[in-house]
């Protein structure tokens, strides 16, 4: 009846939630063949992971309900099988790896035990399973395979943990591997390595790979075909490169347009006296040197981006600036005064000029305050900015300015989407009319299209209000259209700095080059070229 390895037909899943019935996916159909990579592309809430969960029998019923459709595997409909039959398929014939491997690995058992468990539950002899676990750990490239088996998940880095997940999933040579956002939250260089490993293993075993992602770059790097989902429906499907170059659906077009890194780059025009000058900033946590003498200069109205992977010290640097972390050495001159030499009390009036927007807007807004309280709190602290009588109108103005409605002032943070919350956080920062706003990974947690909107908002604010920005990101493309200057950091030191054009068109340090080559371009053809470049760099 079917020639495909796996075929999902007319699948509809709904959830019965507090807010009412939510149709997570409606009439979704796709198929996957042996040796092929299919990507399901979508933003959060698009339902891109739901069909995978249905395949793995991971949907809790209730509150979930599969209202229609069939999942054909080996010619049998999985949805008609018993729980026990489906358990036999899981892990053995179809395996799955997830985003955030730290929480998906059991923290209290050694990784060797967890890898071998996959085999034990499907009837392999324990000794044999252990021997095979060692082979697998070696194959996915963990250092010291023998010792690695005895270690616990928290003792590995993010990239290594994902390798462990892959080893666990491939233990029984499944026909299909489902990878749900396997490289989100990994550093770009690590992401490239993990994707390369997946591809190698696919070539070795000939399995079908289903990749669920929000990232056009990942699609360009790995996928043969792509399924684009929006609000529970498939809007477009086809070969990856064709979909990128000739998108038919307006949503796909918007998504592709939102990918960063295509606008005009800036050369930087620093004028007048520096607004902020940080010199020789050092910070040690015990014997660990997090910052090794960093210099940073910001001129009025300009944007300086700090780019680096996790552990590079970029966040520590700005936290010392706002004195959330006390630096061990160095100075930061602001208006001719050293911020580091001030007492925290003397610092208070200065704070009105330097505001901050944090990475995760869910956590940076007090859940028990209304939006009005969140924004007006700034004026309670700095009493001379806005007279009390005008608070309401000013909050309304600020909300309008960041693209929200004045009415929203009465609501609580949890009633907004992630992008809206970040707008609120920006409105709060604007309330004090600062001269400098520090954005600490302010767009990293947001969907691509929302990310583009927030960056456009920041750009407009900079033009209209002349505010200077320090913009921290772990990813280079994000800062390309927005920054005047870029600072690349690695292990607590600046490895390269220059205007945005200099960094992107003529990178000098090897690290910057690797970083640029590891970034994934949404265009499959450009990405193919970039992959070749990266290979050269790695080989060099």
């Amino acid at each position: 009846m079917t020639d495909h390895l796996l075929e999902v037909r007319n699948l509809s899943v709904r959830f019965h939630t507090a807010a009412g019935i939510v149709d997570a996916v409606r009439n979704v159909s796709w198929h996957l063949d042996r040796g092929e990579t299919l990507a399901i592309l979508g933003e959060s809430g698009s339902g891109k992971s739901v069909s995978a969960s249905a395949i793995m029998n991971l949907i809790d019923i209730p509150p979930g309900e599969i209202t229609s459709g069939e999942i054909l595997f080996d010619g049998n409909d999985l949805l008609q099988q018993t729980a026990e039959e489906r358990r036999q398929v899981n892990g053995k014939r179809i395996a799955m790896i997830f985003q955030d491997p730290l929480s998906h690995l059991n923290p209290v058992y050694p990784v060797g035990w967890q890898i071998a468990e996959t085999m034990r539950v499907h009837g392999k002899d324990p000794a044999e399973a252990n021997a095979r676990a060692l082979d697998l750990v070696r194959r996915v490239g963990l250092p010291n395979p023998q010792q690695a088996l005895e270690k616990y998940p928290h003792q590995f880095s993010g990239g290594q943990r994902q390798r462990i997940m892959i080893a666990m999933a491939l233990a029984l040579k499944p026909d299909i591997l489902i990878a749900d956002e396997p490289t989100t939250a990994l550093d770009v260089t690590v992401q490239a390595e993990v994707l390369a490993l997946l591809e190698e293993l696919q070539a070795e075993t000939g399995m079908g790979l289903l990749l669920i992602t929000h990232d056009l770059g990942v699609v360009a790097e790995t996928a043969d075909r792509v399924v684009v989902m929006n609000r529970g429906e498939i809007v477009e499907t086809g070969p990856a490169s064709e979909v990128y170059h000739n998108p038919r659906d307006p949503y796909t077009r918007r998504l592709i347009a939102a990918a960063p890194g295509k606008g005009e780059m800036r050369d930087g025009n620093s004028q007048g006296k520096p607004l902020l000058e940080m010199k020789g900033v050092e910070k040690a946590f015990g014997s660990f040197q997090a910052l090794k003498g960093v210099d940073l200069t910001v001129f009025p109205g300009e944007t300086v981006a700090i780019v680096g992977e996790s552990g590079s010290g970029k966040s520590t640097l700005v936290k010392t600036l706002v004195r959330l972390i006390e630096p061990t050495a160095g100075q930061a001159t602001w208006n001719g005064r050293d911020l580091f030499a001030m007492s925290l009390k003397e610092m208070r009036p200065v704070r009105r000029d330097i505001q901050m927007v944090f990475q995760d807007p869910t956590q940076s807004l007090n859940p028990r305050m209304t939006i009005f309280e969140v924004i007006s709190e700034a004026w309670r602290i700095h009493k001379d900015v806005v007279p009390r009588a005008q608070w309401r109108t000013r909050v309304a103005e600020l909300l309008t300015q960041v693209g929200l409605l004045p009415d929203h002032a009465r609501r609580y943070p949890h009633q907004f989407s992630g992008g809206q919350r970040q707008r609120i956080a920006i409105a709060r920062a604007l309330a004090l009319e600062p001269k400098l706003i520090v954005c600490d990974e302010a767009v990293s947690a947001l969907d691509v299209s929302i990310q583009a909107q927030v960056i456009a908002l920041l750009d407009r604010l900079r033009r209209d209000l002349g505010i200077a920005f320090i913009f921290i990101a772990h990813d280079l493309p994000v800062v390309r259209d927005f920054a005047d200057h870029v600072l690349v950091m690695q292990s607590g030191a600046v490895v390269e700095k220059g205007t945005t054009r200099e960094i992107f068109e003529n990178p000098k340090s090897l690290y910057t080059k690797t970083l640029l080559a590891s970034g994934l371009d949404p265009d499959p053809e450009v990405q193919a070229k970039r992959r070749a470049e990266r290979k050269e760099l790695v080989d060099a």
Binding site: M56, N57, L58, R87, Q88, V89, N90, G91, K92, A95, M96, F98, D100, S103, H104, L105, N106, P107, V108, P110, E117, T118, V121, H122, Y152, H154, M165, M168
Partner: protein, 304 residues
């Protein structure tokens, strides 16, 4: 680990010393034991003699000094009431309490963990709702009232079980049953809550995707992760039991440390009070240490 031991020993010793000072002086606020132990018509000379014998005539600070000096020789003084070394009296009573506590806690831990885990796996189901209600009632019940009702039903009306004392196995049943109820209710709620959140965690999803069966998912993957908060609460409850279940011991005439404590307090047998405090403190100290070891064993992320 040895660093943890030393650190704990130092802080515990510090707290214990503060406690001894407080108890020593405050307990003497309740009055002079002389009038309680001598007959009403005792002469002044007899009273004087009694006071002299028990060192009650010295200034308070001097008495305290003597006590501490004796303590360094492991001499806990004499029980006025029993005319035996205080420490012997305490250890004898503590033996009873210890047995009672161990048996009760073992039973509580087993029942609460098994029932709580199963309830958590089928949240909102019939079994879950029944177990939750029972545990809530258990956690709300005053033990003295349960004891009385149990005596009326089982000892008086049916006549199955003895009302008080020790001796046969039957004597243990009612005290354990009554002591069981509250900790069972409290711990079951903690197990259930902790298991619900652990069953929702990502590694359970991974285990399901691997094809692991339900029973190992509950008892191998989840339970070990969910045990940390449970162990903390179990420790608190065990500590309360080791301190002596005063009410239950009094009602059932059980010669444990709780009954000894209240009798000694009411009769102003100061040395026994102090010795009892020190013995139970030591027991609780050891138990807390065991709990720390259990943490280490359960969660490899914990390092001391």
């Amino acid at each position: 680990m040895s660093r943890l031991f030393r650190q704990r020993a130092v802080t515990s010793l510090f707290s214990l010393l503060g406690l001894i000072v407080l108890v020593f002086f405050l307990s003497r606020l309740t009055g002079d034991p002389t009038s309680l132990f001598l007959p009403i018509d005792a002469t002044d000379a007899m009273r004087e003699n009694f006071r002299e014998l028990h060192g009650l005539n010295d200034p308070l600070l001097l008495q305290f000094w003597h006590y501490i000096v004796d303590l360094t020789h492991l001499d806990f003084g004499e029980s006025i009431r029993k005319a035996r070394p205080a420490i012997d009296v305490v250890i004898e009573a503590f033996g009873w309490t210890f047995q009672l506590a161990i048996m009760t806690m073992a039973l509580v831990a087993f029942c609460a963990i098994v029932l709580g885990s199963i309830a958590a796996f089928r949240v909102g189901g019939k079994f879950d709702r029944l177990v939750s209600l029972v545990s809530l009632i258990g956690a709300s019940a005053p033990d003295f009232w349960i004891a009385i009702v149990a005596i009326v039903i089982f000892s008086i009306n049916i006549g199955w079980l003895p009302t008080s004392g020790t001796g046969s196995i039957a004597h243990w049943i009612l005290p354990i049953a009554v002591l069981f109820i509250r900790p069972f209710g409290l711990i079951l709620q903690v197990v259930r809550g902790s298991m619900i959140s652990a069953l929702g965690s990502a590694y359970v999803k991974t285990a399901k995707a691997k094809g692991v069966k339900n029973t190992p998912i509950i008892f191998v993957h989840t339970l070990r992760n969910a045990m940390l908060p449970v162990i903390t609460v179990m420790g608190d409850q065990a500590a309360a039991l080791l301190n002596g279940a005063v009410v239950v011991e009094t009602i059932f005439g059980f010669p444990g440390v709780g009954k000894l404590m209240i009798d000694s307090i009411l009769q102003r047998d100061f040395n026994v009070i102090l010795a009892a405090i020190m013995v139970t403190a030591l027991a609780i100290f050891i138990m807390n240490l065991l709990i720390d070891v259990a943490y280490l064993f359960l969660d490899p992320r914990i390092r001391y």
